[in-house]
């Protein structure tokens, strides 16, 4: 439109007039938002999608700032808030030496080395000013709304412990970007007192309603914040317990399957009575039956799994002929 030749982003194929990131050292360019989403979807992969070179840092060309991708983080978030943060929106500014004493980091850091890092929700991968939760331990950051969305996948349960990180289960702390107090915009239908509503989730709706009724007649933001933290407490508690339960169930299953495979291997490798497909099918059926018989618990003392497996396998093999 402007007569200026603009390249296309190789990821989304849209024009790259702005929102450009350049990778270092290979100099390949992508949309900043596209390359971020790509890196977000590949947790351990930090190579260039084009040439597969290991990427050390990327340059946000619009703001001309370098973002280090290899930084090992050790940040304290209370001191990170400032005006430039509001402008850059997606980044933290950190002065390494003076972080403890500084209240106004920006002015000082102009003459010193400033390190930038990404603020990015570890659930949805978006970088924006709504990212408002941070883990003290591993510095993973989240949207409160995304945490809640995840929590909707486990059924509700209302015991409370700490607000926990999805990765290391350490305590989460509030993270403010841009300004110290968040700007609440009750007109925006998706955001209510800083919480992102997810209309697909029933649990979110319930949480939203309960926090709304509790906040009626009160303009006290702290109260809402507390509620918010409690919601997250609940969600993570539920999710954590669900995860553990699944993990245990999986281990029990593996132990039972080991017996089945032991016997089936004789049939397959020993006398070649069954084909590979039959092996898989029988393995599945017999394991499932044994699993049901054991009531989900591996009871090696009460049950002779080898004998039971053999019995069931013989039955299955007979069915084949």
């Amino acid at each position: 439109m402007t007569g200026q030749v603009s390249k296309e982003c190789p990821i989304c194929w849209d024009s790259m007039a702005d929102n450009v990131a350049k990778l270092i050292p290979c100099q390949h360019e992508f949309h900043l938002s596209c390359i971020r989403k790509w890196y977000h979807s590949r947790i351990s992969d930090r190579t260039c999608p084009n040439c597969r070179v290991e990427i050390r840092e990327l340059i946000d060309m619009d703001h001309n700032v370098n973002i280090n991708l290899t930084l090992q983080l050790d940040l304290i978030f209370d001191g990170l808030v400032d005006n430039i943060g509001a402008q850059l929106m997606n980044m933290n500014i950190r002065d390494e030496q003076k972080i403890y004493q500084e209240q106004n980091i920006v002015l000082e850091s102009e003459t010193q080395e400033v390190r930038l890092m990404l603020i990015q929700c570890h659930i949805c991968g978006d970088s924006d000013a709504e990212v408002d939760r941070c883990c003290k331990h591993c510095q993973n950051m989240y949207h409160a709304g995304c945490l809640r969305q995840l929590s909707a996948e486990v059924n509700d349960n209302t015991e409370s412990s700490g607000g926990h990180c999805a990765y290391c289960h350490e305590q989460l702390i509030p993270l403010n970007i841009g300004t110290r107090t968040r700007i609440w915009n009750p007109v925006d239908t998706d955001i209510y007192r800083g919480m992102i509503r997810n209309r697909n989730s029933i649990l979110t709706e319930i949480l939203y309603e309960s926090s709304q009724s509790a906040a009626v007649g009160s303009s006290d933001i702290n109260q809402t914040c507390n509620l918010e933290m409690n919601d997250i407490d609940h969600s993570w508690d539920c999710m954590e317990r669900n995860r553990k339960r699944k993990e245990i169930a999986y281990q029990e299953k593996c132990q039972i399957q080991r017996h089945v495979r032991g016997i089936l291997d004789d049939y397959y490798y020993g006398c070649r009575k069954i084909t590979r497909e039959q092996y898989t099918e029988i393995n599945r059926r017999v394991s499932r039956e044994l699993y049901d018989l054991s009531g989900g618990i591996y009871q090696n003392l009460n049950m002779d799994y080898d004998e039971q497996a053999r019995r069931l396998i013989i039955k299955e093999v007979e069915k084949l002929t």
Binding site: P10, I11, C12, W13, D14, D18, N19, H31, S33, C34, K37, W38, S41, D45, P49, N50, R52, D126, S127, D128
Partner: protein, 161 residues
């Protein structure tokens, strides 16, 4: 400025335009077009001829492609119809394709649909015998090419059209 919008839709539209242009002069890919209903660009179908100087040369193949929600950050799911193609890296009974490029770990958002179809066609000429889906056929390929070619031709001729 947050780009929350779905990348898949706009990218598929751009690819669609490009594919239409490039296919006009393409020798081996006969067709690559959306197959979903309601003008959706999430399901595609491809048709191509087998590569020259291979037992696949005289046959045409159909490939169905599904574009995942996270495309291009996730690879497309490609699959032949069942009992359609006999190849060390393709499961005869299901049409499942085993190709490095299409794996989560090796995929790059730089690849596009046309390249994917071309890569699968190349796979027909150059089977990867290290990660076969059909162990017996891969073995045959590495010890007795002639027998392999015979078997492939036989099965392709016998497939129901």
């Amino acid at each position: 400025m947050v780009h929350r919008a779905n990348n898949r839709a706009s990218r598929m539209l751009a690819e669609y335009k490009q594919i239409r242009e490039q296919l006009q002069s393409h020798e081996s890919i006969l067709m690559l077009c959306p197959a979903g209903d309601g003008g959706s660009l999430s399901k595609w179908e491809a048709q191509f001829c087998g590569p020259e100087n291979t037992p696949y040369a005289d046959f045409t193949f159909t490939l169905s492609i599904e574009i995942p929600e996270m495309y291009p950050n996730e690879p497309p799911n490609c699959r032949f119809p069942p009992n359609h193609i006999c190849h060390p890296n393709i499961k005869w009974s299901t049409g499942e394709v085993c190709l490095d490029l299409l794996k989560h770990e090796t995929w790059s958002p730089m690849y596009n649909l046309l390249q994917v179809v071309e890569a699968i066609r190349t796979l027909l000429a150059e089977p990867g015998v290290d990660s076969p889906l059909d162990v017996d056929l891969a073995k045959l390929y590495s010890v007795d090419k002639q027998a392999y070619q015979g078997l492939v031709t036989y099965r392709l001729c016998s497939r129901t059209l």
